[in-house]
């Protein structure tokens, strides 16, 4: 029998959604003189270690959660001063779009450029101050169910299991955390969220979810190049042939610049390497002018849930809720998900608090959450943005962009049509022999870098002696099917060099370097046969992103 602990609410994941849920719950408890026990488990070695986001954020949710956040020292230091949007037409050319031609939702006046990791560190401090137990380094590995099928809580992973599956001298059994309600806030493609969606059929009425992979690097640039508050977005080169996505470049404070590329995971060419697209993008003059003479401090990547309104699953099930990007609350038309994730958590907290106070007991499904969510501004935002992604997928960046301009600027998202995009991202790959091979330039070591030196500065570490956390349903499939048909795309879509096809005595072998994994979840999403399942490794493993 595993040891267990009881809480009123257990929250999985210390990101903006999970921490906002925790803080709001405790605020409500204090306002009503009630005692609540709330705990947050986080697989990263510390809060913020696995957080990766652009990020330009809207402070709307934070304004509601902590109206005095400025006085309280929240790390929102850089207000946006200038917005630029580019369409890159070739490796050297690009057009800066006049503001009037940019969808309104992409204007950033009043927003802040932040490190989302640092914002989460701050939110965790507030949560602890309010009495929440925050446990970084503990991964929720398993969902626990009551006999009636409702969610009972989670179990943290065992520690000290060797690569052979046997217990080592340091073995420590996982713990059961039981709760009246469990909130899953794992972020994009959470491995428990995925199980819940399947178990309770939460997505039966939704379109297939859509994802992207986002890369981000943090740079230190020379003082004279630094323009704090500048926000640059763009699309076009180097993505081509139906591959969509866009880049960002923001000037923070302290001579820091972040640069990144988002590549939609419905791309069709198996030869595409999102990592190499990002590396060559930085050589475009529009970006290079900001980075030249600077040095790269950090690197990371993370999948993004971007399907929006039409793909949003049901967010409640008996015994728990799904919040933030684990459900998919990101507003793609604004390329922002923090404020919506936080608000989804705050609405969850209000729903949970009422349910706990009315002592109707646990296990009941909080169907009320859907009503409150529908009444909140998140719903309104996501509804207005519902066509943005599908339009780009259907009509491409130019015509889709034009549609979005009309929909967003002239009709404020209320055009009475809804576009759908129902095919899952992993179904889009075409066979390798029908696709154009892409030759990527060698990294120059100044603006562009190779994968391994990049992973190195993500500070990624996993205990080596542990079972592989990237599970293959069919271990033969990569070499038997994926290699001949798609030239095994995992070698290229993985941003950390986890997957390799190596030659051994004339035989190809699929190698998984699980220690390199930066927990982006792209393999779980993009494998054409859905053969790879990402499960949590030992708690505390993974990247240690500073200031990301």
């Amino acid at each position: 029998m595993r040891e267990s602990m009881e809480f009123d609410v257990v929250i999985v994941g210390a990101g903006p959604a999970g921490l906002a849920t925790a803080c709001r719950l405790m605020q409500l408890a204090q306002d009503n003189d009630q005692e609540l026990s709330v705990c947050v488990v986080e697989k990263g070695s510390e809060v913020g270690a696995h957080i990766l986001s652009g990020a330009v954020i809207e402070s709307r949710a934070l304004d509601e959660l902590f109206p005095d956040w400025k006085a309280m020292g929240a790390p929102l230091h850089t207000a946006v001063t200038k917005d630029e949007v580019y369409l890159l037409t070739s490796a050297t050319a690009g057009k800066c779009l006049p503001n009037a031609l940019v969808p309104k939702t992409m204007h950033n006046q009043g927003n802040y450029i932040v490190s989302l990791g640092n914002l989460c560190r701050w939110l965790a401090e507030q949560a602890e101050g309010l009495g929440v137990e925050v446990f970084p380094g503990f991964a929720a590995a398993e969902i626990l169910y009551h006999e009636d099928g409702s969610v009972k809580g989670i179990a943290t992973g065992d520690m000290g299991i060797g690569v052979d599956g046997e217990q080592t001298a340091n073995y420590m059994e996982g713990m059961e955390l039981h709760a009246k309600y469990t909130v899953f806030a794992e972020g994009c493609r959470g491995h428990l969220g995925k199980q819940l969606i399947a178990e309770f059929g939460l997505d039966t009425e939704a379109d297939a979810q859509h994802y992207a992979i986002g890369f981000k690097e943090l740079w230190q640039v020379p003082e004279e190049k630094h323009q704090p508050g500048l926000v640059v977005h763009g699309t076009g080169w180097p993505l081509q042939g139906g591959t969509s996505g866009g880049f960002f470049l923001y000037h923070l404070d302290n001579n820091e610049v972040v640069v990144g590329l988002i590549v939609d995971l419905n791309y069709s060419n198996p030869w595409l390497s999102p990592f190499d697209e990002f590396q060559r993008l930085k050589h475009h003059p529009v970006l290079a002018q900001h980075l030249e003479g600077g040095s790269r401090i950090s690197y990371g990547a993370r999948a993004i849930t971007k399907g929006g309104f039409n793909t949003l699953p049901k967010m409640s099930f008996p015994g728990g809720l799904l919040v933030g990007c684990n459900a998919g609350t990101l507003n793609f038309s604004k390329i922002k998900g923090t404020h919506t994730a936080m608000k989804s958590g705050m609405v969850a907290a209000e729903t949970l608090f009422d349910a706990l106070s009315n002592s109707e007991g646990a296990r009941a499904e909080l169907t009320e959450y859907a009503n409150r969510f529908a009444d909140s501004w998140v719903y309104d935002e996501l509804f207005r943005a519902r066509n943005f992604g599908p339009a780009l997928h259907k009509f491409g960046p130019i015509l889709g962009g034009a549609f979005n301009f009309i929909d967003q600027n002239l009709f404020a998202g209320k055009l009475p049509i809804t576009l759908h995009d129902r095919s899952a991202d992993h179904t889009h790959l075409v066979p390798a022999d029908q696709a154009m091979q892409i030759k990527y330039p060698k990294p120059d070591g100044k603006l562009s870098f190779d994968k391994l030196s990049s992973v190195f500065i993500s500070n990624t570490n996993h205990e080596e002696n542990q079972p592989c956390h990237l599970r293959l349903k069919d271990p033969e499939l990569p070499i038997r099917d994926n290699l001949p048909t798609y030239a095994e795309p995992a070698q290229r879509y993985c941003p950390a060099g986890v997957y390799e096809v190596v030659e051994e005595g004339g035989q190809a072998r699929f190698q998984i370097n699980a220690q390199n994994c930066i927990h982006c979840k792209t393999c779980d999403i993009k494998d054409p046969a859905q053969n790879i399942t990402w499960v949590v490794p030992e708690g505390g493993g993974g990247p240690n992103y500073p200031n990301m």
């Binding site: 913020g48 446990f135 380094g137 401090i297 500070n459 570490n461 240690n544 500073p546």
Partner: protein
Amino acid sequence: MKILVCVKRVIDYNVKVRVKADQSDVDLTNVKMALNPFCEIAVEEAVRLKEQGKADEVVVVSIGPKAVQEQLRTALALGADRAIQIETEAAPEALNTAKLLAKVVEQEQPGLVLMGKQSIDSDNNQTGQMLAALIGAPQATFAYSLELDAEQVVVTREVDGGLKTLALKLPAVVTTDLRLNEPRYVKLPDIMKAKKKPLAVETPDGLGVALKQHQTVLKVEAPGQRQAGIRVDSVDALLDKLKNEAKVI
């Protein structure tokens, strides 16, 4: 017997250290910090001695700003009984650290002082030795194994070319090496319990120690980048390069 364990908050060993742009120090802003690995081994050893019934109290002490309480709480979660923080702005240099710890030893009168052989940030390997000298206690550094009884501690040390075993009269100072033990994982309930264990805050003034500055950091630099190697075709080419380019033969 009471065991005093001295611990330090350092940059986490997984973090790739980066020098600040002005070369004044290593950049620690929002970087993951952790209990120094050698100190963690010292805490583990003390807790094991307590579990074996050879000690009845484990006290941990750390020096630095309020943030060091995080590492003290980790030590408490690992099994220490109570903690002392000596509040200073930054981690003081080795001699000041040893002087402060000497005062704590005077107050606490432990039978054994356990500490890491060095911290992975400054890599000085000085504090244990200085402390032993200041309190006039015998010392065994780089402990590989340790046997404690009421009168003495027998320590096997890692030395160049082998192992050396010493018997020390108590009270004694022992610094730990990497192979002494493998620290346990912290359990969730123990983290919650650790929050309720006593943690006292002292100041250098309160302990009657005046901190003196003996060293000044002039500059911190990242090591130079290593050039990629090249492949030569023949032994002659190699000899030529060694003689004329590298000028080493």
